[in-house]
Symmetry: C2
Subunit: 346 residues, 2 copies
Amino acid sequence: MSRMLDEVREQPEALARTLAAELRHIEKFRAFIGRRKPRLVVLVARGTSDNAAQFGRYLIEIATGIPVSLAAPSVHTIYGTRMNLKDALVVGLSQSGESTDTNEVLEQARKAGAVAVGITNQARSALTRIAEHVFLVRAGREKSVAATKTYTGQLMILYLLAYALGAKIRIADLEAIADFTAEALTLETEVSAMAERYRFMHHAIVAGRGLNYANAFEFALKLMETCYIVAERFSSADFLHGPIAMVEPNFPIFLFTPSGPTWPSMQEMLMRSQEMKAETVVITDRRNLAAANLASRVISIPARIPEMYSPIPYIIPAQLFAAALALEKNLNPDRPRALSKITRTM
Amino acid sequence: MSRMLDEVREQPEALARTLAAELRHIEKFRAFIGRRKPRLVVLVARGTSDNAAQFGRYLIEIATGIPVSLAAPSVHTIYGTRMNLKDALVVGLSQSGESTDTNEVLEQARKAGAVAVGITNQARSALTRIAEHVFLVRAGREKSVAATKTYTGQLMILYLLAYALGAKIRIADLEAIADFTAEALTLETEVSAMAERYRFMHHAIVAGRGLNYANAFEFALKLMETCYIVAERFSSADFLHGPIAMVEPNFPIFLFTPSGPTWPSMQEMLMRSQEMKAETVVITDRRNLAAANLASRVISIPARIPEMYSPIPYIIPAQLFAAALALEKNLNPDRPRALSKITRTM
């Protein structure tokens, strides 16, 4: 099989371990930051970590009301701008802790007076030396170039960060995420069997909304990296503002459709896609019968998951699908062409 | 031909008219905002206007050092979050002024204490009623569904907005943009002749960096809407963090490569793409001989344009290319399937 698939399976344990180990640490940070609430949170990252940051952008705004910005690294690294980041919390995310531009932005932000936080899977890295506050993803070494367990680990840390910033998040609800993730992993046989149908898929659209928008980016990136598929990612709203025009009959569209507040918007996209005779695949839950009835193919997670805690378990079938499809296409997801585990850009 | 092409050609006059008409207005706003400098700028938009907002995000940060965030409308419209937007400047951009989610976010922001600005091509619209300060794109009615002259008009207003926020921008430099745009339009015959080569192109990558990153989004959107091409958009840095793996020999990659600070990063992407035997097309200027030497095909703008003022003239050949390729494919760019001029989403 692949290291990627092994690492996908390790996630329930990795998530439980990360939560247990970082909880005391986050309580200390909560006490520290409670006295100096940031006026702005800036998240900076690249690749899969940037997709995790995209999740953090929605979660922190929704759960705390503090405005969040995804940093544009070039503003700092190429244009050399000195930003006004007083009273800002700047958070760098990197699996390896060695992402050159992420580290550069964090270092400049710290000099500009921001509180600098690092989230990484590597306790000893450039990132942990630059950040004042470090939270560690305890995923164990990630050997596959295609990141999986570090993505969900970063999402878990971002829930903790939102909690530290005042979000009404119960730690017991975070503990349940590892169980939801284990339930999602029971779909492995079903999802693997589906892969054959998509053997000759050359392009695709992946869509999500709100808290699952980041998953659309991450699923698309996995399809690009491990299956060499030209995979576009949109929110259900952005899709209707132009990209829908390119949908031909049988165009494959993957949609994250949890029950809850984002469903009406995703439903509109699903119905419009069906009108265009697209091939639609929904990742959903057993309660969402409407999604199952509308779509061409359904991947249905057994657990009853509140939308707030859906992103981690919902990415699992997507990771399983990408790993299985890579195998189906005789590609090695652990070593995509032209990529290495650490990418340095400025 | 097409209304789209007519409207592409109208841009030098539309830009000059917009600048002349809004200048006095922006000076008043400059005096107003100078006494209450925002701690944060939030830009909210959809579709092509969102691509203009992406430009504004870079320009305002680079030229003023004020942090900028692109709003995630669902945080407001779907999750009903009350954001802390005190001392923020919130800017809604919409060609029609009737974008439901953009207007909803702006209205909520105003209630939350933000200064609310509207940028639109429609003097009488829901947006102009909601915004406290309105800046009008004077492009004349845009009849093609594919937006062109309203995009560059929004970019012009964003330069003026950055100026009002304290950027060192000379109005004389903004006046020169209309001339650069006219020079870019002289490429029409050359670009149209190129289109045949791409008649059977089904997917593509468009890349830019920094101030031209937004143009990568806009060119990709035009290819999706008017030519039904699955067009992905990346920064040159993000491309190296995963998507490069999907590049097969002859994969078409379009790159915005102005001379100046973003060139080293774009050059790295161009060289890596050539290694993968991709088909590379650069939109560049006569000074950038290195880009011309590396690429498979070159579109070279005659004028000597400072990188700071390159985005408006640089999108012109991209618009010309999309309009010509649509014609080549027997598609009508003015009426893409499944789209109408005003899209309402929440």
